[in-house]
Amino acid sequence: MAGTGIGARVTRKEDFRFITGKGNYTDDINRPGQAHAYFLRSPHAHAKIRKIDTVKAAAMPGVVAIFTGADIEADKVGGLICGWMIHSKDGSPMKAGAHPALAVGKVRYVGDHVAVVIAESLAEARDAAEAIVVDYEPLKPVVDLASATKKGSPVIHDAAPDNQVYDWHLGDEAAVKAAFKKAKHITKIDLVNNRLVPNAMEPRAAIGDYNPGEEAFTLYTTSQNPHVARLVLSAFIGIAPEHKLRVIAPDVGGGFGSKIFIYAEETICVWAAKKVGRPVKWVADRTEEFLAIAHGRDHLTHAEMAIDENGRILGLHVKTRANLGAYLSTFASSVPTYLYVPLLSGQYNIPAIYGEVEAVYTNTAPVDAYRGAGRPEATFVIERLMEVAARELGMDPAAFRKKNFIKSFPHQTPVIMCYDTGDYNASLVKAMEIHDVKGFARRKRESAKAGKLRGLGYSAYIEACGIAPSAAVGSLGAGVGLWESAEVRVNPVGTVEVLTGSHSHGQGHETTFAQLVAGRLGIPIENVAIVHGDTDKVQMGMGTYGSRSGAVGMSAIVKALDKIEAKAKKVASFVLEASEADIDFKDGKFSVKGTDKSIDFASVALQAYVAHKFTGEQLEPGLKEGAFYDPTNFTFPSGVHIAEVEIDPETGVTTIAKWTAVDDFGVIINPMIVEGQVHGGIAQGIGQALLEGAVYDANGQLLTASYMDYAMPRADDLPSFRVDHTTTPCPSNPLGIKGCGEAGAIAAPAAVMNAVTDALGHENIAMPATPQAVWHAAQAGLARAAE
């Protein structure tokens, strides 16, 4: 089995259906008699709804029904929720405004849901939506993040009269003050973490279906966590009790966080299916995705670092203002707080840290977790600070990092996290070697000869994955536990189905999870099927995000496999007529110690079901075990990325000339898949640094609502990447896995901006460093040099 076990580059089991066009995405599903939903969205960023006149629209051809916020209210459909309670410095709970699935009385961003038209065809629904007359009273919008809480600003939610959601902090303010008093040098920096649109290539989609005979609903949806969707739709929104609501997330075309959340559209589809007595299907077009999917990032930060005379960091003070948009999305409140400040220690020994975060409402799309969620923002702060500080101190940025690296583990940071293991120096040294940092000076001279500016930037990131120990996050305000479940069902012929609460939407679980199971049981990988994404099959689960499926999801499978092995040994002991203690299990064979008596796994499975060799009093028949795994700590993947850029000062175009990544993900199940995750993450991080940015105008209109205006990274914007690893196994889970899904997106923005500012010779440029911005910066630099 060496060819497919842990560590093997197994090609993916799921690929055949995708490369032959046989994938089964939500939009590929059609239910008999289905009608189509189209959402009428607000054209205003902020307006009162005086009246909605649907009379004419309702009479249009093909229209089945039109619903507005009044119908939602009449049916007492609960509002969308935010599942993480944050308390402000003064102890008061965050101020969450109501979030109805269809607007009631007021709209709060362009794209807000005003009405839904359900018709025989999408075209007819769209036509009828045009005929709905909404009498709006436009209000002044709040768009600018910096001034959102200014006195006299328009009020978005009555619950938050100054547009502030919370004013939160973490860390020891007094200790930080004392550290700054002792400092020899203080580095200060102002940063914008630009707003991004996740842009999974599959737009969201949903089909609600109602079976009146069984009084049961089915929702097909593009979800990263169907069980959480069911829990929220059931317990909070009140569609139906859980046993009457089945949620299916079939093949999902990418998520990056944006498909974690429970949105208005799927809520309406499932609710409306019963109202109209037909399945209701909705598929977002790309414009709708830009307008109404949860965006990511959007921070303004001022940060200061105190450093002593020996170049050692004494303290860190970070003050951030986070834009949460017009409503609190499902996990919005946790992203700029507990997923952010606890990561500000980076890979460094920083004795005192104090983080303050003010989260605000604006009349823009809700903001929530996007690949990395809080951790890219933290890495951007600390890694830009490290680079700038080194430059100010006249130190080599790599040497400055080395000096401050944490070197002994476990390491308790001043901001909650206890890093279990790592070797930060090893990653840096290896990355510098692979990258040929020594040759950089020569390459820079060559670029200069060609009239180009060359720069090199490091990013030594850390992330907290394996989310998360349930009791720990519970004490921090989480509304759910973050364990994972698994069930291993061995069939009488020895094939195996593994039901997991994790969800795969590009990560390749059908392959990596099968590698684990096949290796452990000594059976061919073809004999293992991974089942996920259906609440009727998998009893409960927490889904996939935060690079948790390896560290948490696979650990649950290990626990279930332990039980399978124990039970199978019992069966084998009856068959082989030996004592259980004498049974060994290796390479798919149960054998009796010191004899040549053995039986293979498939035969034991059969014996477990025919149950002829033992009595019911001796052993239960069957071979099926389940497990829940709750992590005991976060995991801490880390690594070093080195970006090398070349800038053409004439055009402002930045080219990524070279990229090296050395990551420590602990034990790796399938290096091919892990490298793919790193590539994709880096691309998204480079996108953030150089290309992408969601821009609203002063009226709250989204100016970047299509691929014509929002610059997605394309193949010719990117280089090939050099990706390598170091390994310190994670001590807190049975497989030693740390997680890899977000690393690239976390590391890359700081690496790029450190390289760009190195090339330009000054720090004054924000993301995205577009050719226009870079051109201005380069020209200003050249002018200064000429003076």
């Binding site: 490369i19 990056f256 939407h505 691309a683």
Partner: protein
């Protein structure tokens, strides 16, 4: 409603369609060939690429009626049973896909690239030619490798056949 007829993956098909029906709708909704995807509404992402009379086009911006009499190949028409087209095989071998949503369009665009530019494609050429196809998952690294290998494999097949 006007009627449109065309050959899709070697099969003669026809249907009554609205004037505004797009080729991608005709394929997905009328023919139930759901391998061709829709990822945008501005003809930018390439998830919808199919071949019409041997050339790659974006099915999201082509009216079904304009394909009267045409010969259309979709992702479903590439493999011969379980025997994959070399470009499909290369995408699997080189891990050129993650979520799989952009993949059909990528593969169709890649084959068209080979048809136009030959079997020996440089990394630069491939990156440049992929301008009309967006992937959010892979960072393109392995897509580029897959296309290079797939192109070479197509060349090898051609040589073998000759």
């Amino acid at each position: 409603m006007p009627k449109v007829s065309m050959t899709v993956n070697g099969k003669r098909v026809s249907a009554d369609v609205e004037g505004r029906t797009l080729l991608v709708q005709f394929l997905r909704e009328h023919q139930r060939l759901t391998g061709t995807h829709v990822g945008c509404d501005t003809s930018q992402c390439g998830a919808c690429v199919v071949h019409v009379d041997g050339k790659a086009i974006k099915a999201c911006t082509t009216l079904a009626l304009s394909c009267e009499g045409a010969n259309v190949t979709t992702i479903e028409g590439l493999a011969n049973g379980t025997e994959l087209h070399p470009m499909q095989a290369a995408f699997r071998e080189h891990h050129g896909l993650q979520c799989g949503f952009c993949t059909p369009g990528m593969i169709m665009a890649a084959i068209d690239m080979v048809n136009r530019l030959g079997y020996d494609l440089s990394e630069d050429t491939i990156r440049h030619e992929l301008e009309g196809n967006i992937c959010r998952c892979t960072g393109y690294h392995n897509i580029v490798k897959a296309i290079q290998a797939g192109a070479a494999a197509m060349g090898g097949l051609k040589v073998a056949a000759e």
